[in-house]
Amino acid sequence: MIRVELPYHLRNLARVDGEVQLEVPAPVTVQAILDALEARYPVLCGTIRDHGTLKRRPFIRFFACREDLSLEPIDTALPEAIVNGSEPFLVVGAMAGG
């Protein structure tokens, strides 16, 4: 199972506590995780990536295994630690600054 951590507001929106666990078909990529996440929680459609273009929203970041994957192609295979569930895939709301 893939473990996904959502930011506070998206956990509230999806009405989940803690991590989300998802079955994601191989190859496990950012796109595959987001597809599975949105299929399970349709209310998240449009909140992480744009409805039409499917581009990441500007103030969303994807972290995994201490790496920022936000700028990687979304069909890049994710590290084995994400695939085997030993590490979570993090969807992060960027810092507001100020």
Binding site: Y8, H9, E38, P42, V43, C45, T47, H51, A94
Partner: protein
């Protein structure tokens, strides 16, 4: 005795304020959608417990929420967290996609800039069908749902009304006001900041500017241009939908022919700049504005928060001050943040960027702060319940 329910959208959530018909003792519930910007909430006039809400965030975009129990519980109408029995819903209630080729509008540097959806500013439920509602959005366009908010489709004819010439002001370019003619559901007015006011006579298929008589000598190279006027708000009385009142960037205006032409009724106001305007529930010639010092200083003149009332449909205005701060007050009152109830005497409500929601249960003669310390108030609506 009737109950009153005030729906306040704020920068950090929605709040629901309730009282009995005396409108003295209020209960506050919220924040709903804590931490999100709630640009607007509005109930269906046919089913007051059905309330539509626009929830948005710079991080996470646009969510549409709907309550069917007067705001106690909420669901995104087309994308709840559980899959539906007949398959996976697709979160369509959050989806606002321009029809066809989105096209372009004028940008700050004079170039053409593609239309980009940012958020829903205003939700206007139909007067005849609780499943129908309209959404005014930024970048300026109007969308319609016919299934209670599950899906939204643009009415693209609006952007064909010289949309390529519309240019955002500093506050963005949004359809922020939607007024449906209560006697003719095919006639709808919308207002757009730095765009103007537009009217449809065929339910939204085609639109035309309704700006003759508006003058913007400090904002537009052609003061009488057909589009580009910064209309802040329009309001009607339901008994007389051909009479419209407008708070423009500068100038309070009036039309007696459904927007075919406008004339100024600013009269003796201390400033004719402001945002909201509304009409008394039972007196079609009684109107309310909140003068703001200027476009450069968005707070009341002299630090005195005053609602101005005209009982003559404009030109002659009186300051309403009882119960409102008359010194050191530097809040603003935004365009969607004033509403009137249908009780007798008529109740008037407005919210401020300082987080106060003020109410008057006597047509504006006296005011009380219903609540003082909310986040900045973006919108106020009111419902009278049996």
């Amino acid at each position: 005795m009737s109950k009153v329910r005030v729906l306040a959208g704020t920068k950090k959530g929605a709040f629901i304020l309730t009282a009995d018909g005396k409108r003295k003792d209020w209960e506050v519930s919220g924040p709903h959608f804590a931490g999100w910007e709630i640009y607007h909430l509005k109930g269906s006039p046919l089913d007051p417990d059905r309330i539509y809400a626009s929830q948005s965030s710079g991080w996470f975009g646009q969510i549409i929420q709907r309550s069917d129990d007067g705001g106690k519980t909420w669901q995104p109408p087309g994308g709840g967290p559980e899959p539906s029995p007949d398959g996976m819903p697709r979160g369509e209630s959050n989806k606002f996609v321009y029809e066809g080729e989105a096209g372009a509008h004028k940008w700050y540097d004079g170039t053409q800039h593609p239309w980009e959806f940012k958020r829903v500013w205003h939700l206007e439920p139909s007067l005849t069908n609780p499943d129908i509602a309209y959404a005014g959005v930024e970048d300026a366009a109007i969308f319609k749902t016919a299934d209670g908010g599950k899906t939204w489709k643009e009415l693209p004819g609006l952007r064909q009304a010289k949309g390529h010439l519309w240019q955002p002001g500093a506050g963005g370019m949004a359809v922020h006001t939607i007024v449906i003619d209560p006697k003719n559901a095919e006639r709808i007015f919308v207002a757009i900041s730095a765009g103007g006011v537009f009217r449809t006579e065929d339910g939204g298929k085609t639109w035309r500017p309704a700006t003759r008589g508006l003058k913007s000598p400090f904002e537009l190279p052609d003061p009488d241009a057909e589009v580009g006027h910064c209309v802040h708000r329009i309001a009607i009385h339901p008994s007389r939908p051909d009479v419209l009142f407008m708070q423009k960037h500068w100038d309070v205006m009036r039309s007696d022919n459904a927007g075919d032409s406008w004339h100024e009724v600013s009269g003796n106001l201390p400033s004719d700049f402001g945002f909201p305007i509304d009409v008394h529930a039972h007196e079609p010639e009684t109107i309310y504005v909140v003068p703001i010092k200027s476009d450069s200083e968005h707070y009341p003149p002299e630090g005195k928060l005053r609602v101005y009332r005209s009982k003559t449909g404009g030109n002659e205005w009186e300051a309403l001050t009882k119960g409102l701060p008359q010194k050191d007050c530097y809040v603003n009152v935004l365009r969607d943040a004033m509403a009137v109830d249908q009780l007798d005497p008529c109740g008037i409500y407005f919210g401020t960027t300082g987080g106060q929601v003020y109410g008057s249960a006597d047509g504006g003669n006296s005011w009380n702060a219903i609540v003082r310390d909310l986040p900045a108030v973006l919108s106020v609506e009111v419902q009278v319940l049996p």
